[in-house]
Symmetry: C2
Subunit: 274 residues, 2 copies
């Protein structure tokens, strides 16, 4: 039987506050070895120190308590390491995002971009291979990467000739409610399409509607798209009226051809009512 200590002593041994320890007990992350039935005093065994030190580190890295509980519950060392590695990857992405945002902030503070050229364009309908889903802005970059990869793969395996166009449609709730319908599509050569093989669920061959759009080219990483949205949308709101249709992006230069996000070029297409 290992030696047991009070919650206060355990706090000093782990550098975790007493309030936090009680909370970890409540949510089942660090359960005291014994709880006195009468006084409700908690006692911790010294063998729990390892877990506690791990919890402190994971929490410092902002791992959610649910994930921490899973790590501690892992029976094999391999399982545990995997769960942690997953979180570290998540943190990597976070760090990248932060770095990008700092860069983006510096650009914004440096002053407005050069006047962006805005043109009015009438776009015809197009046949395309598409995948749609409910996506939220925080996930959009990863989702797009994956989805355009899938689209290319599908087009190849179904022998569909792409016409080089690629774009996305965004339902308004994507912006207004932090999650909404997004359709990623690649245009197809207008040709007889063999659908003897059924497409996997979730993707479709469909007509992407045409319409009238105000268009500006966004240069740089996707993080800064809001500025170009502001420019194009301001223009439309000043001179025309926003039409009731999804906002559209058209990818001219993306990560498939440029390695540096600074070189990306994206057309922001804002629907205009005629």
């Amino acid at each position: 039987m290992a030696a047991a200590v009070s919650i206060g002593e355990f706090s000093r041994l782990t550098h975790i506050s007493v309030k936090a320890l009680r909370h970890y007990h409540d949510v089942g992350v660090l359960i005291p070895a014994r709880v006195d039935g009468q006084s409700k005093y908690r006692s911790y065994e010294l063998t729990q120190l390892g877990d506690a030190h791990l919890v402190r580190r994971l929490r410092e890295l902002d791992m959610p308590l649910d994930a921490v509980r899973i790590v501690l519950a892992a029976t094999s060392k391999r399982e545990r390491d995997d769960a942690i590695a997953l979180h570290l990857e998540h943190m990597e992405r976070q760090l990248t995002r932060t770095r990008e945002m700092v860069a983006s902030l510096r650009i914004l503070l440096a002053g407005p971009l050069d006047d962006q050229e805005i043109s009015l364009r009438t776009v015809a309908a197009m046949t395309a291979l598409s995948i749609s889903a409910i996506v939220s802005p925080v996930d959009i970059e990863v989702w797009s990467q994956r989805t355009f990869g899938q689209l290319a793969g599908l087009a190849a395996s179904y022998d569909l000739a792409m016409n080089g166009e690629s774009g996305s449609l965004f339902g308004t709730s994507f912006f207004e409610e932090e999650q909404g319908p997004v359709t990623a599509f690649v245009g197809l050569e207008s040709m007889t399409i063999d659908l003897s093989k059924a497409l996997p669920s979730g993707c479709a061959i469909e007509a992407i509607a045409g319409g009238q759009y105000a268009v500006a080219v966004h240069r740089g990483p996707y993080r800064d798209l809001d500025c170009t949205y502001g420019t194009v949308g301001s223009y439309v709101n000043t001179h025309y009226v926003t039409a009731f249709a999804p906002i559209r992006e058209r990818y001219l230069v993306g990560s498939d051809v440029a390695s540096d996000p600074a070189d990306f070029r994206t057309e922001v297409m804002w629907p205009v009512s005629c």
Copy 2:
């Protein structure tokens, strides 16, 4: 008079959710240019886009809304840049902390440290120059840096000969309640001390009590002190009883002599009841 748009359109123009925009209105961060008296509909002017884009970036960088409000309220560009620079510095520290914690995690997962030698020591009282304050663990590193700098400066200007000892005392609430009394001290040569000049408030020449301690040397960054605390404290709890006295740290090798935290050496002194 600039063109005005609805909250939904402003959301699409800024990539800020409608709920967030309403919240920013409530807390006075982004106030709509007009609010209809009857319908309570908010309208935003296109001139507010710049502020909104800035808010989005600052929030992505986790700047608190109170700070964001201050940035937007800044009248001069210089004032604004200063407020932002301050936050970026804060983020730098955050990133450093995260990197350190990842490293610390890897060490912890690599397995337990070599058996640490624990010795029992009776320490005599010592005359010291000290500064005390209520500090919380998140601030302790910065506070210690500053305070030991001050102590060295004071000792020099008051012609006090230091004996080379430096350490800190931690009240239990420092660990248990995430904030508590901390005393940083440097030992003085026992000599006649000239106190014709009064010491600045907050610091004192006092006797640091002696006592019996279990001691182990912690090697490496301060982030990992919890492990050594666990080792020493476990030892005491297994073989003795923790005494009612502050926990003490003694700095053998710190940032003044070593540039790499991996080379730091710190004695953790756990009070033992005799």
